[in-house]
Amino acid sequence: MRALRWVLTTMVVAFIVAPLIIVAVVSINANRYMDFPPEGFSLHWYAELWNDTGWRDAITTSLSVALTSAALAVAIATPMAFVLRAYDIKLAPVIYALGILPFMLPPVISALGALVFWNSLGYSGRIENIIVSHAIFFSTLPLITVSLAMETMDPALPEAAQTLGANPRTSFRTITLPLLVPSMITGYAAAFVLSLNEYIIAFMVSRFSVVTLPIKIVNDLRYGFTPTIAAVAVVFILIATTTFTLFALFGNLLKFLGADPAILERER
């Protein structure tokens, strides 16, 4: 069993890491064409990311889309999560399901829906269309994180505020909202990272006129490989690993992933 455990863990780690390492090796190859072993070391392809206007524009577009759509996603999700947990609403399960649904369905369905929607309005190929579609699609993530925070919040706190004379509005603003902020930030971060990485919705909504980073990568790959693509991939990999390493160091990653509180006590 111990041998099996070791073999399985090694295999899984190799499976996850192998494609990433190959990409990293290719990205520092001095040669323009992919080859192995690499011929010389060069950071030229990383500089290209910044110097080439095509790449720089794609990075700017993607960052604008991700920053705004994640904010809009939190703005959609937070009032829903709060009201559905704090008030006795008959339709609550239906409304919650409606909030979860876009994300549960394959993204191509949201993508096609957005395409026909903007076509029928005669307003297509704008960056704001991608922002709205991403906000709806990823609002599920802050909805989940804020709802979890509402569930674990001590109900005595807003009650105490109201006993002390605060009206519901004041108690929400001074007690509930500050307690929800961490879960709103987590939801924002998750929506931001996934929006940055999203391809199919952005592609079908943009109608070839707005180019986000994933769209740029796929477009370039159609004309063949450049090491710059590998460099972008490495940047993405680093962003993801850094985010979650920081999360593990300063936040409680295990709790966020739903670990049993008992296992968190087990200090080894």
Partner: protein, 285 residues
């Protein structure tokens, strides 16, 4: 919150913004998509309002049925491979020391956050002829000349497993951390080998989450677009690829809408089954 209040007019005012957003930008597009599936397609990329069943009839054609069965088949296979590896892996993971436990979770979450674009690209390189596995093997002297392993069925399957595997672990993780260590200790005190304990104690307890994780991986891979498009030939394309292809390059939006609605029904069916299994899990735990 224990103090559950009755909704007032203000409550509905607070809900108005999210509900309006979802109604306008999710429900309305969906309704337009339903209508579009009955529209008439004009050669050259346009469509006009009409009521015809041409797009729906195409769903009954042999090619589409064959594509559907292929998509379901490869995604079920990917889901099965994922869960068979993810279940023992997550079980071991929850029993590791804190340091390796957290390190592995960071690795898995990072893989989960990666774009399908990046994953698809990384696997094309890894399985390709110029800087992939075969080049390493040639360099190490194991092989004589490099070979390309993509596009192929196996490449698509590996790619699908790569994107679904982290989600599978996330589905299993919360329950497996709650597995009482005393249960497995008791089995071993009674003389069962760790191997036997795993099969006779851990697997039966985990059966509902195994099923839920498997179905989640299935729905998730069904939604993958870039992996089959990058790593497969057209005969390895799944429904998601066909829908996007019909909507963009072939410009047959009504047919794409009909296929998308079919995919919606299929996914909702599976999600329904998952919810039912989760309800049962909660009953057990």
């Amino acid at each position: 919150m224990s103090e559950i209040r009755r909704p007032t007019r203000g409550t509905w005012a607070v809900l108005a913004f999210p509900l309006a957003m979802l109604a306008i930008f999710f429900l309305a597009p969906f309704a337009i998509m339903v209508a579009t599936s009955f529209y008439h397609r004009i050669e050259g990329g346009f469509y006009e309002p009409a009521f015809e069943l041409a797009s729906w009839e195409r769903l009954l054609h042999g090619v589409f049925i064959e594509r559907t069965l292929f998509s379901i088949g490869i995604c079920l296979l990917a889901g099965a491979v994922c869960i068979v590896i993810a279940f023992p892996f997550t079980y071991f993971l929850t029993r590791m020391r804190r340091r390796s436990h957290v390190a592995l979770l960071v690795l898995i979450m990072s893989a989960l956050a990666l774009s399908e674009v990046i994953v698809g690209f990384a696997w094309t390189v890894l399985l390709g002829r110029s800087a992939g596995i075969s080049n390493i093997l040639v360099w190490a002297g194991v092989m004589n000349e490099p070979a390309a392993y993509q596009p192929s069925f196996l490449a698509v399957l590996l790619g699908l497993c790569y994107i679904a595997f982290p989600y599978c672990i996330l589905a299993l993780y919360p329950q497996l951390t709650r597995l009482d260590p005393e249960l497995t200790e008791a089995a071993q005190t009674m003389g069962a080998s760790p191997w036997r304990t795993f099969w006779t104690v851990v697997v039966p307890i985990g059966r509902p989450i195994i099923m839920a994780g498997f179905l989640l991986a299935f729905v998730f891979t069904l939604g993958s677009y870039l992996i089959p498009a990058f790593l497969g030939r057209p005969e390895h394309w799944t429904l998601s690829v066909f829908i996007s292809d019909q909507a963009t390059f072939n410009a047959n939006v009504p047919f794409a809408a009909a296929m998308a609605l079919f995919l919606t029904v299929l996914s909702l069916g599976v999600v329904g089954v998952v919810t039912w299994f989760e309800g049962r899990t909660r009953g057990v735990a």
